[in-house]
Amino acid sequence: MLKISDLKASVDGKQILNGINLEVKPGEVHAIMGPNGSGKSTLASVLAGREEYEIEGGSVVYQNQDLLELSPEDRAAAGIFLAFQYPVEIPGVTTINFLKTAVNQIRKKNGQEPMDAASFLRMMREKSKLVKIDPELLKRSLNEGFSGGEKKRNEIFQMAMLEPTLGILDETDSGLDIDALRIVSDGVNELRKDKTRSFIVVTHYQRLLDYIVPDFVHVLYKGRIVKSGTKELAKELEEKGYDWIKEEVDGQVPA
């Protein structure tokens, strides 16, 4: 359902992705790991359509469409969801209104009628339980004054509401304590029960993968996937760090 071939991308003239190849099939969970600055978040951003990244080459085919041709909103309508590493605060727009607009815009693009208010509220109630988010919080301005944990839970809550086919989690574990991590992971695992839904989980640490167990683990370094394996690879990285991978790739011991 997602096929990334030789994807190259730059920002401000600096090449960050140097030829990524990755295929994700329905229902699979792929973890993308790697040291800081390896291009993990760039990959997530490029897939979601962030404008400041320039595509230098390669292709991304998503459900038989050229993904790189689509605007961010069209990608959302096509079923791609990015959970942000740093969710944005938007004063004056409540989470409820924001999501109502988002849900109905996506439905409109997909030729569906807007959701009626009662069904929408029912759906909100149901999905908010998934990540144990306080419904009162949803009446407030989007993410404004939310704690780090609340913001991340709100991301997963939004994902649950928009029911994507591909969820991309960009360092969702950063800044979470162990309880929040568990709640967020439980939410994601609930969404995994739909066996057609796939995930790309970008993370620096193995910790998250104890809760969201991946089918595949890829290590990104210098803008390339330099190693792929199963969840055992993540454990190995946890024990040994990233240096041995760097050594393998660079062919030398760092000073």
């Binding site: 962030r50 605007s71 961010p72 959302a76 004056g92 924001f98 999501l99 607009t101 939004q158």
Partner: protein, 436 residues
């Protein structure tokens, strides 16, 4: 010299009015007008060399020819063609600055609310008129206020007696009929709110037609002891309109005054909001929103003058500037020596949507008392790209994301509107304009 030609034109008009007075030229009301005319002739029209007009150049507006006292051919249906739905209130209609009693709908009984022309007021409440007319308007320094005072004739005196609470708002609908020619209008109204009285007043300006207009408006509001006044000014005129308006407010002890100024559309707009807090335990709130696009210019000047101790003023203006529009905010706060324990706050926040738009802000605080709390702040920034991308990534199209953010930015001013029907009406106008 162009300036002098214009001044002479108004002098001639003033002389003609004086001739027609037939022996009433020595009335106190007329003496005030005569003095104001002399001030105007001395001042002339301001240029950008004038400190208060540095960023607002009237040259283009003054270069056009305007016809004053144009008798509009619009009928009642035309005048009422933009109704406010579900509005239950006193609706006063003005065309080209001239009060149209025959179209107006007054629902509040006359023992609570009196609406009089200046002529009627001179006959019915001469002492009250004399006590309040042009008492605080600065004709010495403001040419437009001087001219307005000199030519004041066609507006109304709104009088709310002591201890009266008006349930129904007073909506003054100002229509500029520019269907066939350029029109100049002198709009002058005086609102006297008695002690412990309560009222909501709105002034709504719009134009009909595509010719140019020059409106010189002055509204004086006297807020008696313990009185409560909500005042709205809504401007939605065509791109060829010039509006120079002053709202002059005088507050007594324990009174409450709230002003909200919404400039939706207009070619060249200058609003002066001058408030004198001449009493203790006064509360004053000022909100403003302006959303110019294309080549429009909106200038808001405010003066808050704390003269006595223990009062509070709070000001928040917000602007959204599009295309090649320009904006000015100049907020003065005076805290006089006697005005200890004053709390005065001022904030002006702007979003520049286009790289060609400009905003000039100038806060000015002059504080002579030592035990006060004052703060001011201005910000001018751009839309948050990250927030736009965030919304897009949730399926919201870019233009809709921008619109939602701008509406959210405007919301904390819009939400302050306490008359539901005006709230809805304005929200509609704002959405429409931001959607362009």
């Amino acid at each position: 010299m162009e300036n002098q030609v214009l001044i002479d034109k108004f002098s001639a008009e003033f002389a003609a009015i004086q001739q027609s007075l037939n022996g009433k030229s020595e009335s106190p009301f007329n003496n005030v007008r005569k003095a104001a005319m002399a001030q105007f002739e001395r001042l002339g029209f301001p240029t950008p060399r004038h400190e208060e007009w540095k960023y607002s150049n009237l040259k283009k507006s003054l270069a056009s020819d305007y016809n004053y006292h144009v008798e509009s051919k619009l009928n009642e249906n035309d005048v009422k063609s933009v109704p406010l739905p579900n509005l239950h209130g006193n609706v006063l209609y003005f065309v080209n600055g001239i009060y149209k009693a025959e179209y107006s709908e007054i629902v509040t009984p006359t023992d609570k609310l009196k609406i009089m022309t200046f002529k009627e007021a001179q006959a019915e409440i001469p002492e009250i008129l004399e006590a309040h007319f042009s008492k605080h308007v600065d004709s010495e320094n403001e040419a437009f206020s001087a001219l307005n005072t000199a030519l004041a004739n066609d507006g109304v005196v709104v009088y709310i007696a002591d201890n009266q609470t008006l349930e129904e708002p007073i909506i003054m609908r100002m229509l500029g009929d520019v269907t066939t020619e350029n029109v100049g209008a002198i709009v002058r109204n005086l609102i006297i709110v008695g002690q412990n009285a309560e009222v909501k007043v709105a002034e709504a300006y719009r134009t009909m037609g595509e010719k140019a207009s020059f409106t010189n408006a002055v509204t004086e509001i006297h807020v008696g002891k313990d009185a409560r006044v909500d005042y709205y000014k809504v401007q939605n005129e065509n791109d060829f309109s010039t509006h120079v308006g002053t709202t002059q407010v005088y507050q007594e002890d324990r009174s409450y005054f709230y002003a909200a100024t919404f400039t939706i559309n207009g070619g060249f707009v200058r609003n002066n909001l001058n408030i004198i807090l001449d009493g203790e335990h006064i509360e004053t709130f000022m909100y403003g929103l302006y959303i110019p696009n294309e080549n429009q210019h909106v200038d808001n000047h405010s003066v808050v003058d704390h003269r006595k101790p223990n009062s509070v003023s709070n000001e928040l203006y917000k602007g959204i500037l599009m295309d090649k529009s320009t904006g000015v905010f100049n907020g003065k706060i005076f805290v006089r020596e006697d005005a200890q324990k004053t709390n005065a706050y001022q904030n002006c926040r702007n979003v520049i949507v286009s790289k060609d738009a400009t905003m000039n802000t100038k806060p000015q605080l002059e504080i002579w008392a030592d035990d006060v709390k004052c703060s001011h702040g201005t910000t001018t920034g751009q839309l948050n790209d990250e927030a736009i991308f965030y919304m897009q990534s949730r399926g919201i199209p870019k233009d809709e994301a921008i619109r939602l953010q701008l509406l959210a930015f405007a919301e904390d001013v819009v939400s302050k509107i306490k008359i539901d029907t005006i709230h809805e009406y304005l929200e509609g106008l704002i959405i429409e304009k931001l959607g362009e």
